[in-house]
């Protein structure tokens, strides 16, 4: 009998069978990878293990006894901890306050701050997770915040630690540190479950692998005895081509240009004298770990953030201090990173969402008056062309899946036929089918002569699509590569700040 078992787990959602009689068996001190594409069922399975959801059928057995988990608190009480992809930290509080929250050492009716700090420092030292207990979380970089999340779980005596896509926000160097920590935790008896879709990382650090596909267990593999191709075949059901066919192209005129762009926040230069250009018919990628100024750069290019110094030119015209509307009018369109909060209005219909930005001009409006017929026709045609699965154009978009919502945003922004498209994380959290579709659309637009600026945390996406790749680190462009000269290792080095150009 294994140390930790999930037996015959079934979980249904309306319209989809997320987990279809899944079995999972993990030994003590093992690093076990749970793999699969987006939508394969691994997140659901882990959320059941952590008590966030209850299975419709099946049960969990840990150290010989059956667990009935009604909430994450039950899971924590039984020694199961989870480090989420999106951190759950209190920004304005200190590290120690975050760690001991709700299990504060006390002195009378007061919190014993001294003892708390000491305990946190000791825990950090013991597990090789250097951290300053006094530091305010808002000042910490992403890699350190993750350490804090791990400390939180360890403080609560976690014997099983679930890591959900932990490397999504780390530089390659930070990933290596994380793996070292994982190995030492495993050696000390902690059992780790690594939820991921990244092949090379699984090969580097895991002992065994369970691959899910379409809600079922596709394969169980022992890492030492297998290789990448076998995992890919298990995840996708066939050999996958990692690269879409792309013709080399001679780029056209410069459509978007940034010169010595500087953006400041709280006295810091978050965008530090950045210059770049995007020509028609080329895809320029920006690689970099989240938080190095990419978002602020894009916002400055779009007019959403004030620029302290430097200029932004669209089709040769200076739009640096102009309104967002002016930026768009001059030729920018923008697929925003946060599709739910920024790029769409959840309670508005698809028609309304698709009309935004077109609502002042023909054919959707004449002399300031909307043309409802034209709006409906517009929405219908976009929905059809992009194969968006929605009940009717009048349905609110808040009900759509991630992939379909992303298609709404993509459809709208592409419909502008603007010379330049800025795409920020265009396939994050989107199912495989939609990813392929969106990639196909981006390449098609490139063929049509559009200039595309692509910001992505997925190096594989950049390597597949971009003609040139820039690397951003701490607000500066630290490197530029032509596609042929770029590879993950080199990009990773620059993303982490090593070796300046």
């Amino acid at each position: 009998m294994a140390y930790l078992e999930m037996i015959d787990i079934v979980k249904r959602y309306p319209g989809v069978l997320a987990n279809d009689h899944v079995d999972l068996a993990v030994e003590r001190g093992e690093i076990h990878a749970v793999m699969g594409e987006n939508g394969a069922g691994k997140s659901t399975l882990m959320s059941i293990l952590y008590g966030l959801q209850s299975p419709d059928e099946g049960y969990i057995r840990f150290k010989g006894s059956t667990l009935l988990l009604q909430s994450p608190l039950d899971a924590i009480a039984h020694g199961i901890g989870m480090v989420h992809q999106a951190f759950k930290l209190f920004e304005s509080l200190s590290v120690w306050e975050n760690v001991v929250y709700r299990r504060e050492p006390r002195r009378g009716i007061f919190v014993d701050g001294a003892r708390a700090r000491a305990q946190v420092a000791e825990l950090a030292r013991r597990h090789g997770l250097p951290i300053d207990p006094e530091a305010r979380v808002s000042t910490l970089p992403v890699g350190v915040r993750q350490r804090l999340e791990i400390l939180k779980a360890l403080y609560r005596d976690a014997q099983v630690l679930i890591l959900d896509e932990p490397t999504a926000v780390l530089t390659p160097a930070e990933v290596a540190t994380l793996f070292k920590v994982m190995r030492s935790l495993a050696a000390a008896g902690c059992t780790l479950l690594l939820v991921t879709h990244k092949l090379n990382e699984v090969m580097a650090v895991s002992d065994r692998i369970t691959v899910l596909r379409n809600g079922r267990v596709a394969e169980r593999l022992v890492t030492a005895d297998t290789h990448v191709d076998a995992i890919v075949r298990a995840m996708t059901g066939h050999h996958v081509t990692l690269r879409l066919p792309k013709q080399p192209r001679e780029p056209g005129a410069v459509q978007l240009e940034a010169k010595d762009l500087r953006v400041e926040q709280h006295g810091r230069r978050v965008v530090d004298d950045v210059s770049l250009s995007v020509r028609g018919g080329e895809i320029v990628g920006i690689a970099g770990v989240a938080g190095n100024g990419q978002s602020e750069l894009i916002e400055a290019l779009m007019g959403l953030t004030p620029v302290v110094q430097g200029s932004v030119l669209v089709a040769g015209r200076d739009v640096t201090h102009a309104s967002v509307a002016a930026h768009r009018a001059r030729g920018l369109s923008y697929i925003a990173e946060d599709r739910a909060r920024t790029a769409t209005a959840a309670s508005a219909s698809a028609t309304d969402n698709l009309a935004m930005g077109f609502h002042r001009t023909a054919p959707l409006a004449r002399k300031g008056l909307l043309q409802p017929q034209a709006m409906r026709a517009w929405a219908s045609s976009l929905i059809e062309r992009f194969d968006i699965k929605i009940a009717s154009p009048e349905t609110a978009v808040g009900t759509l899946s991630g992939g379909n919502l992303q298609k709404i945003v993509t459809a709208r922004e592409l419909a502008h036929n603007a010379p330049v498209l800025i795409a920020e994380q265009p396939t994050r959290g989107v199912d495989v089918g939609a990813i392929a579709f969106i990639h196909g659309e981006l390449l098609a637009e490139r063929e049509r002569g559009r200039g595309i600026l692509l910001v992505s945390a997925e190096l594989s996406e950049l390597l597949a699509l971009a003609d040139r790749i820039l690397v951003m680190y701490q607000g500066r462009i630290v490197a530029e590569f032509a596609r042929a000269d770029a590879d993950e290792a080199t990009l990773g080095l620059y993303m982490a700040g090593g070796a300046r150009a």
Binding site: L93, Y101, Q265
Partner: protein, 303 residues
């Protein structure tokens, strides 16, 4: 000239003016720290003021007045607690409708229970007696203001310190702050967000009830319709200016209390009372504008 203008009575008036705002602002501070936007302070105070008078008149003693004020404030805020903390309805809409409900309800009950409209006063009602703090009471200029006040005034000052210590030094204060800042994280670690929000709202209601008590029984003993006259909103502004930090909020309340007293003083020297009555509101606005402009300059570059 200055000394006759800013005399002992001036400071006494200021302290009397500060107290209800301070109590309400403490209620608002706790709400803000737990993540709720409470603009029903005005209505809760009004309900408390009415209940205090009713309690004093029908119950016959100061104790019944105090109990009535606290109970009424807490019960009334129960509506906010259920609507906002429990059912997660829109804070602002609930707050506005509660304020109007309080005004309508107290006016209605004034007519049906006391048989008058406008103002009810009864000199036989027990007001809050003034205490004397030996030593402090004999200070020049500030002696009356600081040393010769009713118990509720001193309670309000102590409350500022208690709340500050509670928030920053106790486990429950830490949990409350976490819930307000990042509810998802707090709930994930087992903090009962709904319970905290509920308790904070009800406590706030009780505090506002006491604020109302100070208004109706603190100096003169009477209730008049809409006697809160926007003090609850000034308390909201104080919480905003003080960024929900108890000591800063208290400082903001002092500012408003002083401007209120200043307005009365200017009235005394002949300025028309319609203009001087606006003093605290204008001062509040000016303070908000100044603070806002400073904030803008500090975070230049962030939209």
């Amino acid at each position: 000239m200055i000394s006759t203008f800013f005399n002992a009575a001036f400071f006494d008036q200021a302290v009397l003016g500060i107290t209800p705002i301070l109590l309400a602002a403490m209620a608002g501070t706790l709400s803000e720290r737990v993540g709720l936007f409470n603009i029903a302070l005005e209505g809760e105070m009004l309900v408390g003021a009415f209940a205090a008078v009713a309690g004093s008149h029908f119950g016959g003693s100061l104790q019944t007045a105090v109990l009535a004020a606290i109970a009424a404030g807490a019960l009334f805020s129960g509506l906010l607690a259920v609507g906002s903390a429990l059912l997660r309805g829109n804070d602002i809409v609930i707050g506005i409708s509660l304020n109007l409900l309080a005004a309508g309800l107290t006016s209605f009950l004034l007519r049906t229970l006391f048989g008058v409209s406008g103002t009810f006063s009864d000199s036989a009602m027990a007001g809050l007696p003034r205490l004397t703090v030996p030593g402090v009471a004999s200070l020049p200029l500030l002696g009356l203001a600081l040393g010769h006040q009713n118990a509720l005034v001193y309670v309000s000052w102590a409350l500022v310190v208690v709340i500050a210590v509670f928030l920053n030094r106790t486990p429950w204060g830490l949990r409350l702050r976490g819930i307000g800042e990042q509810p998802a994280a707090a709930i994930a670690l087992g903090a009962g967000a709904t319970q905290y929000r509920f308790i904070v709202t009800l406590t706030g209601g009780a505090l506002c009830g006491l604020a109302g008590l100070q208004l109706s029984l603190g100096s003169l003993t009477l209730f008049s319709e809409n006697m809160t006259a926007g003090r609850g909103w000034i308390a909201v502004a104080a919480v905003m200016l003080g960024r929900a930090r108890p000591l800063y909020v208290a400082a903001a309340c002092v500012l408003f209390g002083l401007s209120d007293a200043l307005g009365l003083r200017l009235q005394g020297v002949g300025l028309p009372n319609q203009i001087t009555d606006s003093a605290p509101y204008v001062v509040t606005l000016a303070a908000l504008v100044i603070a806002g402009l400073k904030q803008r300059r500090r975070t230049a570059g962030v939209i």
